[in-house]
């Protein structure tokens, strides 16, 4: 799991470039990385999933948790560049509507 972060303080956007397979083994590092960077209010958190070839229910559970936490801090979570197989897991579980996917 490799996570790079780009911060735009003017626009209040943090972009996380995630590289790895999001199973139960790897969700923890992504979760804590983002949790540690949540600002008090009004930021947008973008997860770039271009390099994520695998995601399962452990990954989805972590994303649901993050979205709730971010919303609690008046922030927004955006998930972009989903690969086909990863997008399919969102669709299968009907979570494609819950998340803002791009």
């Amino acid at each position: 799991m490799k996570i790079d972060c780009q911060i735009d303080t003017e626009k209040k956007v943090k972009v996380f470039y995630v590289d790895g397979e999001l199973d139960v083994h790897h969700v923890k590092s992504l979760k804590s990385e983002i949790m540690d960077s949540i600002e008090s209010t009004g930021w947008t958190y973008e997860l770039n999933m271009d390099k994520v070839a695998y995601l399962d229910s452990s990954g989805l559970g972590m994303l649901v948790y993050l979205k709730k936490e971010i919303t609690r801090h008046n922030g927004k979570l955006r998930i972009v560049k989903l690969n086909e197989p990863v997008l399919n897991v969102f669709k299968l579980t009907k979570l494609d509507d819950f998340f803002e996917l791009g």
């Binding site: 199973d23 897991v89 579980t93």
Partner: protein
């Protein structure tokens, strides 16, 4: 079990691939298991979607063993048996869980967004046959999952059709 699936499993062709794995019950093992699955089916030239589906269902099943049955105690281990022909992919997970009652696995309500409870739902949606066989005496569980790779009647091409229920 659907008669067609039963037949596919019982009449495996002689060139079917059989393999058993004995692995440690630790989250690190999951990526290894996915790579081994890919190794087992590489010669079948499955579509990326189908390959991901069988990796996904198998990972969900093994995650549950590690998480629920073994509570992340990685001194525990479990067995995986993979059998595949061009027509069918069968994966069986053998593990210990004395108290486990498969009928008690809750069915998720997808309108209620929660952080968990989707693993078994995903497995059942992907696989054409899912069966938990428990042995009360030994506490041994055998989770059998079957995915049809290609319906024999379909002439050319990779089929991802589902069996009629």
């Amino acid at each position: 079990m659907h008669a067609r699936i039963k037949q596919l499993i019982e009449e495996l062709p002689p060139d079917a691939t059989h393999m058993k794995m004995h692995v440690q019950g630790s989250p690190e093992t999951l990526a290894l298991i996915r790579r081994v699955i890919a190794a087992c089916v590489q010669h079948l030239d499955l579509s990326a979607a189908l390959l991901n589906d069988i990796k996904l269902a198998t990972t969900e099943a093994c995650t549950n063993v590690i998480k629920h049955a073994y509570k992340f105690d990685d001194s525990m281990s479990f067995d995986l048996k993979i059998t595949t022909s061009e027509e069918v992919f069968v994966v069986e997970v053998f593990y210990n869980d004395p108290g486990f009652i498969p009928a008690n696995i809750p069915v998720p309500n997808l309108n209620e967004i929660k952080e968990g409870g989707l693993g078994v739902f995903i497995i059942k949606n992907i696989m054409d046959h899912v069966d938990y066989i428990t042995d009360g005496e030994s506490g041994r569980v055998r989770l059998q999952m079957v995915k049809i790779l290609k319906l024999q009647d379909n002439s050319g091409g990779q089929s991802e059709d589902r069996l009629p229920d």
